[in-house]
Structure formats: structure tokens, C-alpha cells
Symmetry: C2
Subunit: 295 residues, 2 copies
């Protein structure tokens, strides 16, 4: 099936078309209607709808986390001298930045991706069955961890992966204590209600460099300033075992980490089965399966 | 007077001698004995002695700060397209990182450097008359502001400027609101009691690149980890007008700033008149007057 054959749906969220920056109001619900009983309260769902994220402090007990952490260490050890496309290194050093597809390649993280607590909470928000679109470990090592610049995940997933609508979310599970000073996730509350199209067009094979440092799909300074003026910046940082759920279109990023304290986390992206990938809206070849699951 | 003629005193704090990392206990007081009545309370002096820094929230009123800020804007405008050694740019862009010698070149900041509140507080700590060793504005612009890696100022001032003993301190005055997320100053409380000698030796003319990004005079990972294990990390962030006083030997640094909110501050270094510069202990030529005042 060619990229052209795959696309059968209109582009509701054009970006990187060379047309310059445009704000498009969100056309999709944030919390989808559903009858699922689940772990999230009505108040928590309201917070998520309003702000685009939800912070669940110390959700997983220490015994789970120490199991995940020992798994993370073994992935780190195994990846240090390995070469595999799933292993992404820091932009200015050979330190490991991320390892992708851990839900596919690692039994423990596959188990985590199917954990009833996560799946049920995600189903409550997305209002349907779900599957893993992407998973990875972000290491953000001490001393050398570099920033992740502001971006909407959906912008990339739409343009480069062909995700049609905003019906996906990310879970970031802290495997180490997060502090304000070791480069924790920053979100702009409310930014998930605006789609900020990005300047430029996407070069072929962009993902090979963009996972180290993003150059395309980067919002302009003026839009970011306006979003922060409207919504401010939240930095939900808590103990290892804390979980952040965040909407696929919320503007987020993180600063560098020069402290000795690493800030590794597991990152799981759930997509609705009603929102399966089409051809990339860039018109280019889809990214590999380990970055954006199609099967 | 040649560099050799200037040096008449022993090197109590050797560093970058090629001999590897060594911890040397501090040989100098933190708060020097003195009879000055001043603005700092006994409790504040105790905190400074113990932790190596002191945070004075909202010390300067908004009217002073808005005057400083408008001065800062005019220095920024004037420096944008100017070339002068005092203007230092970011390591990865042409954005202005710092402008040096503002106490010499700018009337408003000269006035600030002589403000009785500052001078009297500094005299209480250093126990003598004082003079400005260095001054600068750090702009840390939004979006592109890069980190300042961990360092002890004294290590550089000793090796590269010939400052004999630990009898100097810095005042950092916030000209913008500081938040945990726009790359505020981080200090390691208690680290001022240890002198961590650094590996390597100093290349001639090092300052020409080190003010953009420091490569020599950088402490090793193991020492930093140990210092943080002992003392933790404090991040005193407050409104514009807040002042941080910190010891010349406290280990400090700051993360990058990808937020739209700039984090500019004025930075004044006071040295005791009993501690005037000798020849640099590196054996090399002294750095220029605008970085380290000798006259």
C-alpha cells in the first residue's frame, strides 16, 4: 500500500505546509463521552478537560518502581554500546537520550502498558478501546541531559505519522524523583485547545535527527508567548511513581538537567482504536513501526 | 609590572595544575569578624555562614527595578549590533548572554553598585572595605538561554585572576520575576566549605571562550554528586527585586531557559580591599580589566 493509497481522509489540522503560522481551534473533544467506570473521578476528568493534563502523585508503589528502575538499568547497560534505531542519543554527546518501543521489546514494560489502572484511566478519557501508538524510556541523565523544546506531540503524529484526530494521550511515569531543578516536564495549561500550525515543510527522513533535537514542527516564539500569557506554565514534579497524563495536543517541553540527579521516565502513548493512522499528511513515507505503530 | 613580579604570595588553593581532582578544606572564614552595624541580622549572617548564600526576597521596590530594567533594555539595544569585548554572546546563537563592566560604563548600575544597602551588607560579611571586582548583566533570554554549568567562581578568580583568598562574594539582583522553570540560580548549600580543584590546565586566553561556555575550571561529576548528596540543591527564586548574596566559593549553576520568560539579572562581585588581586596562579597573563578589576 503506498502512502497515497493510505490517505482517505481530509486534513483537519494542516501544518508545515509552507503557509506560515496559523491557529486552528481544536475540532475534537478532550474527554470523549463514555460510560466506563474507571479510576478517575469526575473532578479529575474536569481538570483534565480544562487544563489538558492530570498529575497523579505517587500512583505506583515503591516496589513496582524499583522493579521498573532495575529494568531501566539493564536496558541502559544493554544499549550503551549497542547500535539500534530504537536507541536515540543526546544531541551533543553519546549519552543515551531515549530508547523506543519498550512496550514491544521488554516484558516488564509491556506489562506496564497493559496495567488495568492505566488502561482504564485512558479509556475513560478517550472513550473507546485503545492501543499503544508509541512507547519509550527517556533517560535525561544527570549533568548532560538536554532540553526538549516546546512542541505539541499531535502536530508531529499528524504530519509525520498520519494520526487523523486528537484522540490520543501520553502517560509519563516518573522512575526517579522529579524536582523543579532536574528538568521536569513543563506544560502550558489550556494550550491543548489551540492547534498551532508550524512554519516550514518536513524534510524526508526527518525523524532520524528530530528525536535528538527537533527543528521542524517547532512553534514560533509569538505563539508560545501568547499561550503562556493565557495559561501560564505548570511543572508537575513529584516522587518516583507519580504519573502525568497529558493530551496529545498540549504544548509541553522541558529544560536541561545539569544536576547529578537523573530524571528518567517511561513514556507510553495510547491512541483510540477509532483513530488509527492513515498516510502521513506530509505526503511522505510513514515513520518506522518502532516510533508509530501501524500493525 | 610583569605577571611574575606581581605574585608574591603562596598558592593556598591550587587547581588546574594537571594533578587531578583534590578536595581542599576552606582555609578562610565565611563571615569575617567585624563591628559594622548593618542591614543583616545575626540570624541572616548565621544562615549565610552555614549555607554559603542568603536570599532577600523583594529587597528593591518596583520603581527601582523598572528603572534598572529600562536601562537593561537600552544596553541590550545598544549591544545588539555592537562589537565590544564586554559583550558576550550565547554559545549556539548570536543572542546576548552577558554584558560586562556595567558598574564602570553605566551610571545607573554604577549607582547600584554603591547603594548603601548592598555595600553595608557586603561589609558585614567580608569585614572590611570592599570594591567591585567584576560586574555584568546576564540576560538569559527566553527560548534560547543556555545553562551555566556548575562552578565555583573563586576557582576561576584564583587561577585566572590571582585572587588570593576567599574573601569575596556575589550579589545577583533579579530584574525579572524568577520562577523554578526559567533557569534560576541553583546553589549547593554547604559546598562553599570545600575547595574542589579541577582537572586540566588553563589554555592561554581561555576567557575568550569560557564566558560563552566553560570547559576549564569545571568540577568532576563525582565531586558534584558528593556535594549534592551532602547539601542538596537550593533554588531561591522570587520576584523581580529579590537579591541573592552568595559566597565566592559556593558551587552554583543554572539550567537552560526554553520558556518565553527572560531571566535577566545584574551581577555584582565585591572583593575585600584586603584581598586585592596578585598575579594569576595559572602563571599566565591576567584577564582584562573589564572582567577582573585591578586598578
Amino acid at each position: 500500500m503506498s502512502a497515497t493509497e493510505m490517505r482517505t481522509i481530509p486534513d483537519e489540522y494542516p501544518s508545515r505546509t509552507g503557509a506560515g503560522v496559523k491557529w486552528i481551534p481544536r475540532k475534537d473533544p478532550v474527554v470523549y463521552p463514555n460510560d466506563d467506570q474507571g479510576p478517575l473521578t469526575g473532578e479529575q476528568l474536569d481538570f483534565y478537560r480544562e487544563n489538558g493534563y492530570l498529575f497523579l502523585e505517587s500512583l505506583f508503589p515503591e516496589e513496582d518502581i524499583s522493579r521498573f528502575r532495575s529494568e531501566l538499568r539493564s536496558i541502559w547497560e544493554h544499549s550503551r554500546n549497542a547500535r539500534a534505531p530504537e536507541i536515540i542519543r543526546e544531541p551533543e554527546s553519546e549519552e543515551i537520550r531515549s530508547v523506543f518501543a519498550v512496550h514491544r521489546d521488554n516484558d516488564v514494560f509491556r506489562g506496564l502498558s497493559r496495567h488495568p489502572l492505566l488502561v482504564q484511566a485512558v479509556r475513560q478519557i478517550l472513550g473507546s478501546d485503545v492501543y499503544i501508538h508509541q512507547s519509550r524510556i527517556n533517560f535525561k541523565p544527570g549533568f548532560t541531559g538536554k532540553e526538549f523544546y516546546w512542541h505539541s506531540d499531535f502536530e508531529t503524529w499528524h504530519v509525520e505519522d498520519g494520526m487523523p484526530r486528537m484522540r490520543a494521550l501520553s502517560c509519563s511515569l516518573a522512575l526517579e524523583d522529579n524536582y523543579p531543578f532536574n528538568g521536569p516536564l513543563m506544560v502550558i495549561p489550556g494550550s491543548h485547545r489551540h492547534y498551532v500550525s508550524c512554519p516550514g515543510t518536513t524534510p524526508e527522513g526527518n525523524y532520524k535527527s528530530s528525536l535528538r533535537r527537533q527543528i521542524y514542527g517547532v512553534p514560533d516564539h509569538e505563539s508560545l508567548t501568547r499561550l503562556v500569557q493565557e495559561g501560564g506554565i505548570d511543572m508537575p514534579a513529584g516522587k518516583a511513581g507519580s504519573l502525568i497524563l497529558f493530551d496529545c495536543n498540549i504544548m509541553h517541553g522541558s529544560n536541561s538537567n545539569i544536576t547529578p540527579l537523573p530524571r528518567s521516565n517511561v513514556f507510553l502513548v495510547y491512541n483510540s482504536t477509532e483513530n488509527r493512522l492513515a498516510a502521513p499528511f506530509s505526503g511522505q513515507a510513514p515513520r518506522p513501526e518502532y516510533i508509530a505503530a501501524r500493525s
